[in-house]
């Protein structure tokens, strides 16, 4: 897929809660095809200590209105600077980057997200419904205050929630959620994005259930398009690159470092 460098314009910066915000980005040029699971490399201007670009998943795309959405969690100086962007300001992106999630065999698919790991699942869920599939979401957050856009996920499919403190949905980790232990859940594919420990636990669960599992990984990235070889991931095929061979991997391929 051809990659582009474009200046986008901020048309909305929607604060969700203390940690998360969503940027809506517009561009005069028609957006190229973007696939669920792909990401962009954002140049952060005006952040004295942010030298490299920041990789951010595509949260959603509206082709009609030509808008790209990014869901971002404030964790350091780069993301904090992004959180302060105002309407009309510019953001330079390299995109679309990486591979993408694949289509499930069955009707239903389970999409498990932890924290900011829910980001790629919105776009994936939308795409699945367009493919006449039925996404079921299982989303985990630290507490109820940190939940993200649940109403929007509900528009795409069933949503289960878990929070560490039980403030919303089930108490505990997503992998402890009863829906995973509900044998009537008729799925052939699970998608996971979140902390490594979560994804590994989901992968083990899927393996036991003999369900195919795709995980979207993170790694430290200098380029994002295969030029620096920094984002190495150990797999059964040897070292692969998270930015071009991933970020989506079938978990059977992965050799976890944790």
């Amino acid at each position: 897929m051809k990659k582009y460098i474009h200046d986008f314009q901020i048309i909305a910066n929607r604060r969700i809660n203390t940690e998360y915000f969503v940027l809506s980005l517009a561009n005069e040029k028609k957006l190229p095809e973007i696939k669920p699971g792909q990401f962009v490399q954002v140049r952060v201007d005006n952040a004295p200590n942010t030298f490299l670009r920041r990789p951010i998943s595509v949260y959603d795309v509206n082709y009609e209105k030509n808008i790209l959405y990014l869901l971002i969690q404030v964790v350091g100086e780069g993301t904090r600077t992004l959180s302060e962007l105002k309407n009309g300001e510019k953001l330079n992106l390299i995109y679309p980057l990486g591979n993408s999630f694949s289509l499930p065999d069955s009707e239903k698919a389970l999409l498990i997200g932890g924290g900011v790991g829910v980001a790629p699942l919105m776009f994936l869920g939308r795409w699945l419904t367009e493919q006449k599939k039925e996404p079921v979401f299982l989303l985990g957050f630290r507490n109820s205050e940190l939940q993200v856009d649940i109403d929007r996920f509900r528009k795409l499919g069933e949503v289960y929630i878990s929070t560490d403190d039980g403030g919303a949905g089930e108490k505990g980790l997503v992998t402890q959620h009863p829906v995973l232990h509900n044998d009537t859940l008729d799925i052939s594919m699970v998608y996971a994005c979140g902390p490594d420990v979560m994804m590994k636990a989901v992968a083990l669960w899927a393996e036991k259930k003999n369900i195919s599992c795709e995980a979207s990984l993170e790694n430290t990235m200098a380029c994002g398009f295969g030029a620096c070889l920094c984002c190495a991931q150990e797999t059964v095929q040897g070292i692969l690159l998270v930015c071009t061979d991933g970020p989506v991997f079938n978990t059977k391929e992965l050799i976890w470092q944790i």
């Binding site: 490299l52 430290t220 380029c223 070889l229």
Partner: protein
């Protein structure tokens, strides 16, 4: 219109702007962004005698105005390069220069020998300065007699333009430059990365799996400029300047300090079009200053007093 052509030994570059090894893949990673045919040359990644998987990860960490990497020589080896990669890149309308790496003199020589026959590879860059491999690599670049030995051996085995890439992790880089000049190098390129380290204070652990890594980016530019100037004043062969170049002004500074050409590394990750922008910027500078030939700024630094 200024004349941008420069020569590295017998080799003619259409302009002095090239991409640094390890930062530009095999060129094709940048085809969506720029016309590779516009570049003076592309230095492709470190190639070794056989398949190397590189170092464990994390391999990268951002630092103030720079980054540390510990990629190591992840590559599939020279034979794979010749059979599977070369056919795909040989049609590029620019010079492809292979960065030759290894752990032993025999390995360097073997790789260099095999590159003799590739018509479209007019030169090699002997990498005796990588801080990211346990054996070989930097040892040759930080011990003068070893640098002479490996250069002499490769010189015998390789018949085209031989560029030796120097390590900045030494007391007197100009001594190494003189030594490899004496051993038959046609040019030197510098600097490779500075050996550095990053620590995660929260986890009380090194950030990189290999503990140390190579520092690149604008943080190192002052050191690189100083070394290019020192080496330019010490040798007669051309110098290729590398280190923290982010824009045309930076590239011009290296040429004023004595570089005949420059390599751009880390900047490509942030701006994949930086190389062609630098070419344009150098041209604008020459036009504005009424200089008709870029060669007139090489080493043109005026030293007071």
């Amino acid at each position: 219109m200024a004349d941008l052509r420069v020569c590295i030994g017998d080799l003619h570059f259409k302009n002095p702007v090239t991409a640094a090894s390890g930062c530009f893949g095999y060129g094709k990673e940048y085809e969506d962004f720029i016309d590779l045919g516009k570049l003076g040359a592309v230095f492709v990644k470190g190639t070794t005698g056989s398949n190397r998987k590189g170092n464990p990860y994390p391999r990268m960490v951002e630092t103030s105005s720079g980054m540390l990497n510990s990629v190591g020589f992840q590559n599939k080896g020279i034979d794979y390069f010749i059979s599977d990669i070369y056919p795909g890149i040989k049609q590029y309308n620019t010079h492809i220069i292979v960065n030759v790496s290894g752990s032993t003199i025999e390995e360097y020589v073997m790789v260099a020998e095999k590159l003799n026959d590739l018509e479209k590879i007019p030169a090699i860059e002997l990498n005796i300065s990588c801080p990211n491999v346990k054996e070989g690599g930097m040892v040759f670049g930080t011990h003068c007699p070893s640098a002479i030995k490996v250069t002499t051996a490769v010189r015998k085995a390789y018949h085209k333009t031989l560029i030796v890439k120097l390590s900045p992790n030494v007391t007197s880089i100009y001594e190494f430059a003189r030594a490899v000049e004496g051993a038959g190098a046609d040019a030197v390129s510098l600097i490779n990365t500075l050996l550095g380290m990053a620590i995660d204070a929260e986890k009380q652990k090194p950030v990189l799996a290999t503990v140390t890594g190579g520092l690149s980016g604008p943080a190192i530019k002052p050191v690189a400029l100083r070394m290019v100037w020192e080496v330019y004043n010490a040798v007669k062969i051309p110098v290729i300047g590398i280190g923290g170049i982010m824009n045309a002004t930076d590239a011009i500074e290296f040429m004023l300090a004595g570089a005949t050409a420059v390599q751009i590394g880390t900047a490509n990750f942030i701006n994949p079009r930086v190389t062609v922008e630098v070419i344009k910027g150098i041209e604008d500078y020459l036009v504005e200053k009424d200089i008709t030939d870029v060669k007139d700024i090489i080493g043109a630094l005026k030293i007071p007093g």
